[in-house]
Each structure stands twice: as structure tokens, then as C-alpha cells.
């Protein structure tokens, strides 16, 4: 019996899975591509995502209420602190930009007066 035939009658689960995949990949992909390309699929997955998000939001809000009751900083509190640091960094950068501009103008002025 040839190797291929031997493999095709194997009871090795992994080999069976591989053969199944090889034989059907194209057909499965084409069918899924067609199904998922439809507007219905898009609408349905959008609704599913919206439901999951509603559940997630509810869990987050409950957790926030619980932590606030316990006088423990929430995720939002820590994020707000982080936002202040990021904002401060931006202000320092803006000052750096202005200093760079002043330095450049001074250099240009010096070069002009040296001529």
C-alpha cells in the first residue's frame, strides 16, 4: 500500500485533522468569505458586539460604584492622574519647542551680524 493510502486510512487523530483540513480548507474559506461578506453578517456581528459592550459597561460601572463606596481609587481616578502627567509633559515639550525656536533665531541673527 502506498504512503498516501496508508495515511488516508490512518486513525492518528492529528493526521486525520490535517487531511480534513487539506481537503476542505478552500471550500470552508469560500463559504465563510461569502457569509461574512454579507451585510447581514455585519449587522449581526455589530449587534453582538453592542450587547457585549453593554454587559461590559454594566460590570465596569458596578465595580466603580463598589470601589467608590470602599474609598478605593478607581481605574478612572488613576487614569485622570496619568492624563495630568501626560498634559504636563506636553506643556514641557511646548516650552522646549519655543526654546528651540528662540535658539534658532539667535543663531540666525548672530550669523547675519557676523557677515
Amino acid at each position: 500500500m502506498s504512503k498516501t493510502e496508508e495515511a488516508s486510512h490512518s486513525t492518528d487523530a492529528f493526521e486525520i485533522w490535517r487531511q480534513l483540513y487539506d481537503a476542505n480548507e478552500r471550500a470552508w474559506s469560500a463559504a465563510l468569505e461569502q457569509a461574512m461578506g454579507s451585510r447581514e453578517f455585519g449587522e449581526s456581528s455589530g449587534k453582538l458586539l453592542e450587547t457585549l459592550l453593554a454587559a461590559q459597561k454594566s460590570v465596569r460601572e458596578s465595580m466603580r460604584t463598589y470601589l467608590e463606596t470602599m474609598n478605593v481609587p478607581t481605574r478612572e481616578d488613576i487614569a485622570r492622574l496619568g492624563e495630568l502627567v501626560v498634559g504636563l509633559e506636553e506643556k514641557v515639550d511646548q516650552l522646549g519647542d519655543r526654546l528651540d525656536g528662540i535658539e534658532e533665531a539667535l543663531r540666525a541673527k548672530r550669523a547675519k551680524s557676523a557677515q
Binding site: 486513525t11 492518528d12 490535517r18 483540513y21 461574512m36 455585519g42 481605574r75 478612572e76 501626560v86
Partner: protein
Amino acid sequence: MTTSTRATWPDAESLWSSNDRALEMARAVLGAADAPVGLTPKELIWRKNKARLYRYARPGPATHRTPVFLILPLINRAYILDLRPGASFVEFLVGEGFDVFLIDWGTPGDEDRALDITTLVTRYLPRAVTAIRKATGKDQVTALGYCIGGALATCFAALHPEVTRNLVLLTAPLDFADAGQFGRMTARGIFPVDRLTETFPTVPGQVPDIGSKLLNPIANYMGTYQRLWQKLGDPDFDVQGWQAMYRWVNDSVPFAGAAFRQWIVEFYQENRLARDMLEMDGRPVRLASIRCPVLNIAASRDQIAPRATTSIVTNRVGSRDASEILIEGGHVGIVVGRTASQNLWPRVGAWLSEHD
């Protein structure tokens, strides 16, 4: 030859060999998270919030004048362009004599909920370029953007033509009039982008990741393992290479809420860049404002950035020198795949040398 229709039980030897291969497969998958990646030596030269700008170490001075500035996508780890020795676009460019810089956007946290694409293009990129100019003493850079990074590079080049010597785009989606499956998934009225960004300050990396994988679910969810199973039987199979790629594919990054919203609404749904309606910080962002040489690289089997989304740039920019290369392969494959080192990298290297 006799043909048996009966299933044959494997003998002990093949059974154990199959079990060994299954264990090897589990080891390859489970060990992928620790695969060494991004090994080209580099130095941190600028940072802002989570973003880091690196300069890659060179054995000697650069032989090309214009520094190459790599702008990476927001949803993937930056090491895709420096995957591992021998499979690294960065390593190739350094070897070709370029002074290479890369911006790694890092991992946004909840405090970055208001960080949008406009801020990245108008506050981060100009300062990163200033840092490159200070480090090199050169006035201009070549901006090379990959995927979403290409869209950012395009906006930057349109707003700052004075510092952009060249623009190179790697599979960069810019026109969303026909954005394929992604466009349908994110269509207005279908995709709950507002609720998503209200619920999550940073959109979990799994959201865009699942979206990408659903473009070809069988190949992405099953084919990966099927191919691994098959290759493990080959004594020359490079397990570490597979692990590095597997690590990258599954190492998704959260998307800052405001940036995600802007990407979906202004780029995908309203197609503002292609329709000349995009504004950043009150300034119009127009493709026609780009006057530098442009090289646009598209992948023939790209489902993430289909050709219809990438081809607009060569016709619409204000440059006289705008060309396109179509490479056989997919969105990621053309950058790090087997043929990248023989096809894409030398062609980009040659173009950059010509436009130095």
C-alpha cells in the same frame, strides 16, 4: 498494489512519533511568547508619553545622506520590521548604509483615551523628526510608513513637506471608498464605534485583531496550526522563525480610544483623506500638498489594505516622481516573508539610494 478500505491502526512507532510531534507543536506554540525578537542594537534618542524613537546602531558612518524614519502602525508591535536576524528589514537597511530611526508607539493606557491621530501627527511626529534632525544634522528625512503608519506618514508629509525628502508607503490604506471586508465590518450604522470607545478608554487589541483574522478565518485560526504540524516533520524547519512570527501575530496592542474613533469615523466611514476633507489642528491635509518623491508598495493578496485602498496615492499626490510596486503576497508576508529579503527589501533599498 492492494488497496485497503479498512482503517489501519498505527503501529507503536508511528503513534509515538505522532505524539512527539504533538508535544513539539505544543512547545512551539506555548514558547512563542518568549521568542527573541527586535534584536538589532538600538539607542533611545527621544520619548514622549509611551512613544519611543530609536536610532539603530551602525558599524560605521552612514553611506547615505537621508535618514530613514520608520513609522509603525498603532495596533501592532514595532518589532515586525526587526523580527529577528536574517528576517529584519531594519537590519537590511542598516547593512545597506542607511541611518535608520523607528518610532514605537508603545502601549497606550486609560490615560491616553483622548490621544487621537491628529495629536500623533501634529505633536509626536514633528518632534520625533526634530530629534532625528538634531541627532544627524540633516534637514530632511525619508518617512517610511507601514499600514496605518503609512496613513500617518502621508498626513505628516502633507503637513510638513519642508522636512520630508521622500515618502515610502508599505501597504498603507488611504482611500476607503471600497475598503473590502473591513469597510463592510466598520460601516456606519453597523459598527458601534461610539459605544466601543465610551466603554473602553483604550480599545482592546483583540478587537482589531479578531477583525483581521476574520478576513480569512480558516487560514488564520486553523491553517496556522495545520502548517506548523506539517512543517514540524521537516528537519530543516526553523521553529524559532515560526515562533517569532506567531508571537507578533498574537501580540496585539490596545488602540487609544480617540485614535480608534478617528481612524474608523474619519478615515473608514467618511473617507476624509481621499475626499480632501481631512483637517488636523485646523490645517487641511491634502494629498496634493505632498511634493516629494513617493514610492507606494502594494501587496497583491492584501485583505487588510486591499489594492483599492492603497492605489490612490500615486495619482493624487503633487509629486512628479510617484511610482508603485506591486509585490506578490499578503499584508504581512511581503514585509517579513521568505521573499521579502529577495524582493521587497532590495527594491526599496535601490529606490532609496536613487532618491538619497
